[in-house]
Amino acid sequence: MRYVLRRLGFYLIAAWVSLTLNFFIPRLMPGDPASAVFARFKGMLNPEALSALREAFGFTNEPLHAQYLTYLQHLFRGDLGISVVRFPTPVSDVIGESLKWTLLLAGTAVVFAFALGTLLGIVAAWRRGGWLDSIAPPALIFLGAFPYFWLAMLLLYVFGFLFGWFPLRSAHADGLTPGFDWAFVSSVGTHLVLPGLTIVAASLGGWMLSMRNTMIGVLAEDYISMAQAKGLSQRRIMLHYAARNALLPSVTGFGMALGFVLSGSLLTEIVFSYPGQGYLLLQAVQNQDYPLMQGLFLAITFAVLVANWFVDIAYVWLDPRTRSQ
């Protein structure tokens, strides 16, 4: 329990650092977001709009610390500014819509990839020298060396265009109203396959190798040879003695890799025009929609922090040494 609370404290610090970075970055950089936006809407906005924009961006004439406090106040009210791309929708609304799709895609893909990779890693270490140990890792690593979006394009082309087995874009077929009926759910499902597969293919090698190496380290421990000396079945030894211990550093590694894999999944969304945060990020960049960009930065970062906190809780459940102090 204390461990979990300590970790929460850390995540709060990390969140604060992100908030503060988010505040300072625009102010440290050459160039002024308000002017950039103004220039973009050149001719369509009058000069007074420039100062209005500046204010909207929080670039007032107040001293810096006052601006910071105003910024924090806005943040706690959930006010992230107005989006340029979807003018005049507030950024928080724009993000809110897309967040669920990213969570769905990244959530299911990452969990599936981790589970599968871990399983493969266990078997690879169990049967050392077998094909799973010698051929699969380099092959999967090579696969993972391709950029996520490149694999996405490959899968989209082959299975979407050529074979036509799966849809080419979006999270579900147009015209379907969201609901928990079979039509909608199955549509969501088929639209998840290709992007999900991309993420799995790109990250599987990493998960597998990591678990395999951890297992090999664990298999050299004395309690494994004691288990062998007890005449226990190989299955029991591999699962309850080796894997259960190897899972601990593996879960820790999962938390740390989460941000990285999420970044890859965001790029994947773009290729499939999947309406998540990644797709939104592209639009924000293309349109110099700074409020949206910054809003996305905060939203994605906070999502990763929360996910990590859940991973920590899972870790406590797995490792009895963290429970009793």
Binding site: A220, A227, G231, S233, L248, S324
Partner: protein, 325 residues
């Protein structure tokens, strides 16, 4: 003389290192009778642990058994397949490891680790296994509520007792103990050794007792074998060894231990260091460190010869009464 329980004949064990083969155990033979305590002594790296683990086929790659027999109750362990070994292990010979903290699985409770070996080898219900586990703990002086504890929640002495309790679980006719008390402080050490001696008197099992602590060994063993650089250099009953050590190495070992009582004398160690096992010395392996070496020692390996009814030595200084055993 009744058939020995354990009979090791001409055992040879090699490690195939990247730099070449290392013969860790070279042509070692000795017997252990029922109810006997056989002590195996030698300095670090001499091969005693390797020997014990090799006898049970527990050495991981790159270890290889390259010759000899290990007969237990007449059956050759070296000829058994994995299934026969799994059935044989723990039931006939159990193991007590040096470091209980490392020998116990951190994520399983003490109860689980005692029960799993009972359930593997005998047809019992979970409840019966738990009952027996509780009994075993009580036998070692541990409260049965500790069945639900994890290893990290126990003190060092308690953990070692748990490891011994697990070793007794199937009431095997023989136990291998590899430095069972080295990791503990002297007081606890004494308690545990006394407890082991008591249990042995009650249950009548034999012990292969491995340690580098010669004084402990002499007090506790019936017969003792001294190992140097993978070869047996002296084999005799404990009392004779203590009163009349023959091999220069044995004498060096004896002289390395201070007597608590009696006149103070200078402590002599054994000069030099253990040989490079990749390229051991020609002739007698000990000759570079031996103060009594004769020219013959450099060229010819001394065989293990019986020099008295209860003593065998491998040393050229003792050829006179020699008769091959």
């Amino acid at each position: 003389m009744p058939e020995p329980l354990l009979s090791i004949r001409n055992l040879r064990v090699e490690y195939l290192t990247p730099n070449g083969p290392v013969r860790a155990v070279d042509n070692v033979s000795f017997d252990v009778g029922a109810g006997e305590v056989f002590g195996l002594a030698g300095e670090s790296g001499c091969g005693k642990s390797t020997l014990a683990l090799a006898a049970l086929r527990l050495l991981p790659p790159p270890a290889l058994i390259t010759g000899g027999e290990v007969l237990f109750e007449g059956k050759d362990i070296l000829g058994m397949d994995d299934a026969a070994l799994a059935s044989f292990r723990w039931r006939k010979i159990s193991l007590v490891f040096q470091s209980a903290m490392n020998a116990l699985n951190p994520v399983l409770t003490v109860g689980a680790q005692i029960c799993d070996v009972i359930e593997k080898h005998e047809r019992v219900t979970r409840a019966q296994a738990l009952e027996r586990s509780a009994e075993l703990l009580r036998l070692m002086g541990i409260d049965s509520t500790r069945l639900r504890s994890y290893p990290h929640q126990l003190s060092g002495g308690m953990r070692q007792r748990v490891v011994i309790a697990i070793a007794l679980a199937l009431k095997p006719p023989m136990m291998f103990m590899d430095e069972p008390t080295t990791a503990l402080d002297v007081v606890v050490q004494r308690e545990i050794m006394q407890q082991i001696a008591e249990l042995k008197r009650e249950l009548g099992f034999s012990i292969l007792f491995i340690t580098h602590d010669l004084s402990l060994m002499v007090e506790f063993s019936d017969r003792i074998g001294i190992l140097y650089a993978g070869k047996l250099v002296e084999l005799s009953d404990a009392k004779s060894l203590f009163e009349k050590p023959r091999h220069p190495y044995t004498r060096g070992l004896m002289a390395s231990f201070p007597a608590v009582r009696g006149p103070r004398r200078r402590l002599d160690g054994i000069s030099g260091s253990p040989p490079d096992m990749l390229h051991p010395p020609e002739g007698c392996r000990f000759h570079p460190r031996c103060s009594e070496a004769i020219p013959r020692c450099r060229s010819t390996r001394p065989p293990l010869l019986r020099v008295a009814p209860d003593a065998e030595v491998a040393c050229h200084l003792y050829p006179a009464e020699a008769r091959r055993p």
